[in-house]
Structures are given as structure tokens and as C-alpha cells.
């Protein structure tokens, strides 16, 4: 059965890499799936049906396009980073400006799609998990826009290190619930959001913020984020008359990366590089690099690469960036890594901090610490690449929320 999301894309080929997942929600027959308690299974099946119907309904797409244009502010520009390119002396660096979206990150692309779906499904209460608070702010924003009840679960540690976003969410009318279980980060917030959902199924929609969780979330979030890659393709064609050569994006759960990668999966000439948060270093034991240092397992409804110990207990992730501080990754990334279609690398906390400053100083763009990981790797490889190489780095969010964290690491008292 053809996937309507792919029908409007001329790029889908018979043996396309863009057909996944299968009916069970598996990517490559192995990753993804629906590993949830029975109470949630009927809801996931209902969601799947509702999403398929929405995808096939031109009215839904039209409504989404309207909000993406007039409320989110799409399309986001593809910016040629002239000074950074000159300073690094290599590949031509372009920046996909997702930080210019309303609420300051790519998160709103997905949230807008899902809130319209939740409305179609007649749900009135939204729950969501958040790490850095970007997804929480985006969710609280659309709940304000549509007058819906909103409960955001956020790890207590993250509440502490992302105070401005917590205040934003509360201003927007959301209830922010700090989660003290575990290390009080994104993983624990995800557990608590799932517990809320299972207890409030009648009126509640679980608005997942990344390309992870049980099927159909990974595919649905990817579809809503694919607008990033589709625009990039058109914009690069308009500016350079061809496809980019390299695309670099940061990976926590992996939604901004999946969004910019997916429209290029069948363009074999385009190198796709996902940058995980290496934390203190890939082998330091304090990392969030699930693909590079994890192994496949099952958590939060899907099978994917996870940071875990020999007994299958999930390890705490570490990253300077709250948005990347997660011991798993979207299942489609796990598959793309296994088949070698995308490369997965790491950038450390320190490298991200340097890239944060480089981008700010040379381009006048303060990137989110999450996006700074992508910039760090782009800055590392750009000098090694020929000048005609077209490199796109996805600036998934803006860094205003991170200035306190950055100041602290730089030893500056605000």
C-alpha cells in the first residue's frame, strides 16, 4: 500500500528507503514496533487509523499548511554562512534556519501537525514530555492557540537548568510537572508522561516530541518534520542549482535530523551525518551517544539503540544539552545506521560550547546547545572538504534558553 506522504514526493522509488516502517511499525524488520502495555494498544491502533485518515485528507494538509505558513512562519530560510565558511576555509556552509520558527525551534512543525490531529480525534487534554523545554514550549503554545488543557512532564534536573522555558510554559497556561524519578531528565519525563496517558485515556492525547516511542509516533513525527528537508531541497536547488553534498544535524531523539534527512534518503550522493551528544567523551561513561555506544533494546515503546548495562537496565545519559540528554534514539536512525545510509558521530560538551561561540561570533546567530553539536561536527569536517562542497547544517533551535548554562561553563556570572 502506498504511503500518501510519499505519493506527493516525486523522489519515492520502488526500492526506496522512504517506504518504512512496515505495518507493525518496524524499520528494516527490526527497529521500532509497539512495545507498550495492553491498556495503550487500542489507543495506538486508533491513533494509527486517525493519522492514516488525516494524511489522506487534503483538507488536513491544507489546514496544516495554513498554520505552518501564518503561525509557525514557514518556510524557514536556507542561509549561506559566509563568514563561518571563510573562517573555516573549506566546504560552503549553509544553515537551515529552523531557529526562526515561532517558539524558536523545529519542534513546532511536529506539534502543529499533532495538535490538529488531536483535535480531529476529539481530544481535549494534551500531555507531553520535554527535555530542554523546546518541545514543552511548542506544545504549550499550540494548546494556548487552541484553548486546550496542557500538562508537561519535565525532569526535575531539567526544570532547574531550563528555568526560562519553564516560566514560558507556565505563562502559556501549561501545568509543568517536575519529575524526580531517576536522574530527573528526559527519560524520566517520558516514563511519567506515559503513566499519565494510560491513566487518562478518555480525553488525553500524548503529544510525543521526537521520532521515538511506539508506532506510529516515529513515522508520524518524521512526516511532520520532513518539511525541513523538502524545503532544503528546493532552496538549495534555487540557490546552487543542485543537491547539497553533506547534511549535518544534531541527534537526541533525532526529530530535526530525521526531518532534514528523510527527503534525501534516496539521493545517494548526499552524505547524511547525525551528531550525537558525546558528553564528556564517547568513552567517558558520561555520554548520550546511543548509536555509537549503545546496543539495541526496548524502551518507551520501541526497539532501538539504547545506552544500557549488561543486564538490560537503562543507563543515565549525559549531555550539557538537556535536549540531547536521552539514552535512546529514534528507531529509523538505528536502521539507517545499520544499513550505512547515514553516519553517526559524536560531539562533546566542550566542542559544542566552542561551536556555540563560533556560530554566534561569525554569523550573529545564537544557536541552541543542541544545534551547536551539529555545528561542531560541521566545523570539524568543513576544512577537510573541497570549496565546492555544499554542506548544510540544521540550526534546529535558537540558544537564548542556553545562555545561563553557557555562561556558567565559561565561568561568567550573570
Amino acid at each position: 500500500m502506498a504511503d500518501p506522504a510519499e505519493q506527493h514526493s516525486a523522489a519515492a522509488q520502488p526500492n526506496s528507503l522512504r517506504h518504512g516502517p512496515d505495518e507493525r511499525g518496524h524499520f528494516g524488520g527490526r527497529y521500532g514496533g509497539r512495545f507498550v502495555a495492553e491498556t495503550l494498544m487500542p489507543l495506538l491502533l486508533e491513533l494509527n487509523t486517525a493519522y492514516d485518515a488525516a494524511k489522506a485528507d487534503p483538507a488536513f494538509q491544507k489546514e496544516l499548511d495554513f498554520y505552518l505558513r501564518d503561525y509557525v512562519g514557514r518556510p524557514s530560510p536556507l542561509w549561506f554562512a559566509r563568514r563561518m565558511t571563510e573562517e573555516l576555509g573549506g566546504a560552503k556552509i549553509y544553515m537551515k534556519r529552523e531557529e526562526l520558527n515561532h517558539t524558536g525551534s523545529h519542534k513546532l512543525n511536529n506539534v502543529m501537525g499533532q495538535i490538529l490531529l488531536a483535535r480531529r480525534m476529539g481530544r481535549t487534554r494534551i500531555v507531553a514530555e520535554t527535555g530542554a523545554g523546546q518541545h514543552g514550549v511548542a506544545t504549550a503554545t499550540v494548546c494556548a492557540l487552541f484553548g486546550m488543557q496542557c500538562v508537561i512532564y519535565m525532569g526535575a534536573t531539567d526544570v532547574e537548568r531550563q528555568k526560562p522555558n519553564v516560566f514560558r510554559m507556565r505563562l502559556l497556561g501549561a501545568e509543568v510537572v517536575p519529575v524526580t524519578a531517576g536522574a530527573g531528565t528526559l527519560k524520566d519525563a517520558m516514563n511519567e508522561a506515559m503513566r499519565d496517558w494510560v491513566a487518562n485515556i478518555a480525553d488525553t492525547y500524548f503529544l510525543v516530541g521526537t521520532v521515538a516511542g511506539p508506532h506510529p509516533y516515529p513515522a508520524m513525527v518524521r512526516d511532520f518534520q520532513s518539511v525541513i528537508g523538502e524545503e532544503t531541497k528546493e532552496q538549495m536547488q534555487a540557490q546552487e542549482g543542485r543537491l547539497p553534498d553533506v547534511i549535518v544535524a544534531a541527534i537526541g531523539g533525532g526529530s530535526n535530523a530525521m526531518g532534514i534527512f528523510h527527503p534525501f534518503l534516496d539521493d545517494a550522493s548526499v552524505r547524511l551525518i547525525g551528531v550525537e551528544a558525546a558528553g564528556h567523551g564517547l568513552d567517558s561513561g558520561k555520554t548520550a551517544a546511543s548509536i555509537e555506544r549503545g546496543r539495541p533494546g526496548v524502551l518507551h515503546g520501541n526497539r532501538t539503540y539504547l545506552l544500557q548495562n549488561a543486564d538490560g537496565q537503562i543507563d543515565e545519559a549525559h549531555s550539557i544539552s538537556a535536549g540531547l540528554d536521552y539514552p535512546g534514539v529514534g528507531p529509523e536512525h538505528s536502521w539507517l545506521s545499520d544499513i550505512g545510509r547515514a553516519e553517526y558521530v559524536g560531539a562533546t560538551d566542550d566542542e559544542a560550547l566552542k561551536a556555540f561561540q563560533l556560530c554566534t561570533r561569525t554569523e550573529g546567530i545564537i544557536p541552541a546547545l543542541e544545534s551547536a553539536h551539529a555545528i561542531a561536527y560541521a566545523a570539524k569536517i568543513a576544512p577537510t572538504l573541497p570549496k565546492e562542497t555544499l554542506l548544510v547544517v540544521n540550526i534546529s533551535g535558537r540558544g537564548d534558553k542556553d545562555i545561563f548554562t553557557v555562561a556558567e561553563h565559561l565561568g561568567v556570572k550573570l
Binding site: R24, G33, R34, F35, V36, A37, E38, T39, L40, M41, P42, L43, L45, A181, G182, K187, M190, N191, M194, R195, V198, A199, I201, A202, G297, V298, L299, H300, G301, L306, Q308, A310, D311, G312, Q313, I314
Partner: protein, 277 residues
Amino acid sequence: MSRIAARFKTLAAQGRGALIPYLEAFDPDLETSLALLKAMPAAGADLIEVGMPFSDPSADGPVIQLAARRGLKAGATLPGVLKMIAAFREQDQETPVILMGYLNPVEAYGHARFCTDAAKAGVDGLILVDLPPEEADILEQPAQDAGLDIIRLVAPTTSDERLRYVLSHASGFVYYVSITGITGTRTASAEALQEALPRLRAATDLPVAIGFGIRTPEQAATAAGIADGAVVASALLSTLADTLDAEGKATDQTLPRVLNQIKDLAAAVRAGEKKAG
């Protein structure tokens, strides 16, 4: 006949339902939880559920979350849990033991190897909360080969059509999650349970146990009377947690208080009359 089938048959002949208490392995330490496991049958446990601690128990409420954390802190691993069951089996050949937990530790152990080793240790059935029948192919054959039952959870949200599908993958008994929610929070009313049972009976010949939100002897008697068994978990774990000292260590109150609670539950279940359901 498996231990589970034999036990339910015996109880049916006696005209009463089963009391199925739960304990978390290694909570608060191996010695205490093994002593508790060994003493449970004499206190009135008909079947026993043993929780396998997991770092991210996303279907469980705060009480089981804390118990799992204590178990992990005390060094719980799957090999350790299986050793504990084997030690129990040295003295008790009849009381069925069901392991309950999440898939990932089992996956890390290896699906087939786990089933083989669990059966060898004396485990009778598995409940894996996050393994719906849609994904269960990885475990069904190895479990069947090892002679382990896969006990299926069904919920109020499970439609009649889906019920037939889920139960076609069930063995041992059926675990009816009586509320929509996490463990140890809400309690279903007797009326709601009365209404739910005919739907389940129509879809399966397997015994039905009710769990989630059963706390008091009265509630246990009601559930075991309406269905074929009542699972009590969070209420026992709360009691255990109350007896721990400031460092979270067991005290001389730990075993007696939990066992007395099981005795009270068992007395109520045994006094209760089995209703036609």
C-alpha cells in the same frame, strides 16, 4: 499439567479463587525477599508473582517504582532473580511462580536462553508488561519449548474483537487489568468487575485473575470471588517499605508485617464464596 493449571483446578474444586501476592525480587535485599518468597505459601499465597526490577517501569505507579529501585540498588539482575527462584523451588514444588517485568532485561539476557533458564529455575509463567501479542513472536516459541506460560494482560480498553486476538496468544491464566491506569492507584468497583467478567469468560476458558488497585482483604475477596484470582502488589510493597529503617534496610518488622497482611488477605479470600461468573 502445568503447576499453574493444576493450582487453579484444585482451587476450583474447593470453590474459591486464588490469592496471588506480589513481591519485588531483591527488595530490599536478596535475603529478605527470598525469605518472604519462601514464607508466602504458608501465609496463604496460592500463586506468587515475582517482580523483576527494571530501571524504567513506565506502567507502574510510585510504589512499585520505588520497590524496583530498592531491588536494583541491592544488586538485582536477571541471573540473580532466577537463582532466587531456584532456591525457593528447593523447598516448594507446587506453588506456581510467575515472573513479571519488562522486556529489555529479558532481551539483554537473550529470549531463548532466558526461557530455558527460567524454566530450569522453576518459573511457571511470564508477564512482560510491554510485550503485546503483536510483538510477542520473539518470545512465544522459546517459552512454549521451555514449558513456560505467557500470561496476557487485558484491559478495560481492550475491545471484544481485540480480546479474541490477545487471548489467542495467552496461556496459563488471563490477567485482567481492572482499571485504566498504573499500578497501585485507583480501584475498580465490584460492579465494574461484575460487568467485565462475562466479556472475558466468553472469550476464554483460561482462569482470570484481577489486578491493579486491589488493596484490602475485602477487595481481594470480592475480586477472587468474581474472577478466579486476585493479585495484590502495591499494598504489600507499601507495607514492606513502611517497615524499613532510615537507610532502607529491612528490620525485624519487615517479614512479620508483610506476612500478616498476606494472612489477612488469604483469610478473606478463603472465606469468600465463589460467585458464578
